[in-house]
């Protein structure tokens, strides 16, 4: 079981738990504001852009080259950026904090 904290653009904290799937789907299923996941998780829309807390970067890991190319042209992307449709949920990411990027 992984506990994941989302911080929305209104500075609201949403804490969710899950065992499997990807982080975007978890957020969409629970109506987390600012995560649209339009493309359903195939890395073509960038509507699930989050900033990973610095302490959690190792847990979450790096973007693949396709994801990094996408992020390169996303507004306000930085070294903490990930598309959360590409973050798989497992015990390894328990406790991570993700701040949702403004669209």
């Amino acid at each position: 079981m992984a506990e994941i904290t989302f911080i929305t653009s209104d500075n609201e904290k949403v804490v969710l738990e899950a065992n499997s799937g990807n982080v975007m789907q978890l957020a969409v299923n629970n109506g987390v504001k600012g995560i649209d996941g339009d493309c359903g998780g195939v890395c073509s829309c960038a509507t699930c852009h989050v900033f990973v807390a610095e302490k959690d970067l190792n847990k979450v890991g790096k973007a693949s080259s396709i994801e990094a190319d996408m992020l390169e042209l996303a507004d306000d992307a930085n070294e903490f950026s990930r598309l959360c449709c590409q973050i798989e949920i497992s015990d390894d990411i328990n406790g991570v904090e993700l701040t949702i990027a403004k669209q």
Binding site: D36, D38, C39, G40, G41, V42, C43, S44, C45, S64, I66, E67, D69, M70, L73
Partner: protein
């Protein structure tokens, strides 16, 4: 195979990265590589959308309209203000109640074609599906779809594919009437929402509202019709894929993205160059036109493995069929729901589709000829 859509850009994409076409004496340099397309789409300062109305469209509509389509022909920062106004409305297709209504519409349509001996998928299925679904997007009465259906498959083009100002006027007159009616009697449709809205503290003008509505009508017309028709052709020739979806409905999202990548219902979209520039080492002159060739980018072999194969198991699919960056398709949420619901219902209701006759729709793009869909696709649906 009728459902095969060849990639006419492969050689030019690999050799030079650019293609060329003339268009009413305003030539277009077509950008063919995935990376160049995305970078150019992102760079709105050098490659603008806010040129003379109609110039970024290929073929150019400069000679048939003066009205600006919004937010499509507006650059940042004003573009963002209009997008912010429209975004929430155009995300309504994600709501359950919207999807229920769409499911009912498409389900009824499939039941209708199942009763027929033959169906022209273009006019008797895709056009009807698109027109009826549009009433949901606009939140207008269902009966309006009969008018949309009567206009035929392209709001701007006549039968011979030539640009036709008189046909555009049919839409413009309709929109004038509807906006004026809504002004007299504010309701809950998109016209009424726009009449009450403000951008930067100012009410929208009649022409601004009209510009938004024209985009909504035109942008989602032949694109959706082609996506739906081509999908039917695909499943007619790949019944095993339909069975696969029936057994694994969790594949629907990926299948939809893959079909849209493969068909790329909008071949390309133009930009006007505002300063001398370079794209993949080719000089691009100020005040000329380039186009972002989504269809070519979506077959770029440096990004997609086996790009000419339809593969529902593609996990990463960074296609640009809905455009890219700030001008990405406003109607994409609606289009995706149309396609997802269509696939789900086809998988549950249909066992086979036989194509009896077809006539391909081929676009002439200078040195390229691209199959975009069908003028006619006569089929028999069986449950």
């Amino acid at each position: 195979m009728k459902s095969e859509f060849p990639d006419p850009f492969e050689e030019a994409r690999q050799d030079s990265g650019l293609g060329h076409m003339d268009d009413q004496n305003d030539p277009v340099a077509m950008i063919l590589r995935h990376k160049d397309v995305r970078k150019t789409a992102h760079n709105w300062k050098t490659y603008q959308s806010g040129a003379i109305p109609g110039r970024i469209v290929v073929p150019s509509e400069v000679n048939i309209r003066d009205i600006r389509q919004i937010p499509f022909e507006v650059d940042p920062p004003l573009h963002k203000d209009f997008r912010n106004l429209l975004e929430e409305w155009f995300k309504r297709p994600n709501k359950e109640v919207y999807q229920e209504k769409l499911t009912h519409q498409i389900s009824t349509l499939i039941d209708d074609v199942l009763k027929k001996d033959t169906t022209d998928v273009v006019t008797d299925f895709a056009l009807k599906l698109q027109s009826r679904a549009l009433t949901l997007l606009l939140n207008t009465p269902y009966i309006e779809s009969e008018t949309f259906i009567s206009w035929g498959t392209h709001v701007f083009r006549s039968e011979g594919d030539n640009l036709d100002a008189s046909k555009a006027n049919v839409l413009y007159d309709y929109l004038d009437k509807k906006i004026n009616e809504a002004r007299e009697n504010i309701g809950e449709d998109l016209y009424s929402v726009l009449l009450q809205a403000e951008v930067n503290g100012k009410k929208l003008t009649h022409d601004e509202i009209k510009g938004i509505m024209i985009l909504t009508f035109a942008g989602g017309r032949d694109t959706v019709i082609n996506a739906v028709t081509n999908t039917i052709a695909y499943f007619a020739e790949h019944p095993e894929s339909l069975l696969d979806i029936q057994k694994n409905p969790d594949k629907i999202n990926r299948a939809v993205e893959e079909l849209i990548r493969y068909f790329s219902p909008l071949t390309h979209m133009g930009r006007v160059v505002t300063e001398d520039a370079q794209i993949c080492e080719h000089a691009i002159k100020n005040d000329t036109r380039v186009s972002l060739c989504w269809a070519s980018a979506n077959r770029d072999e440096t990004v997609f493995e086996n790009p000419n194969e339809v593969n529902f198991d593609r996990k990463m699919n960074p296609h640009v069929a809905f455009g890219f960056s700030h001008h990405n398709c406003l109607g994409a949420t609606h289009a995706r729901q149309v396609m997802r619901i269509l696939l789900k219902l086809l998988a549950n209701k249909i066992t086979s589709i036989s194509i009896l006759k077809s006539r391909e729709n081929i676009e002439e793009l200078g040195e390229f000829r691209r199959k975009i869909g069908f003028h006619e696709l006569i089929a028999k649906f069986t449950n």
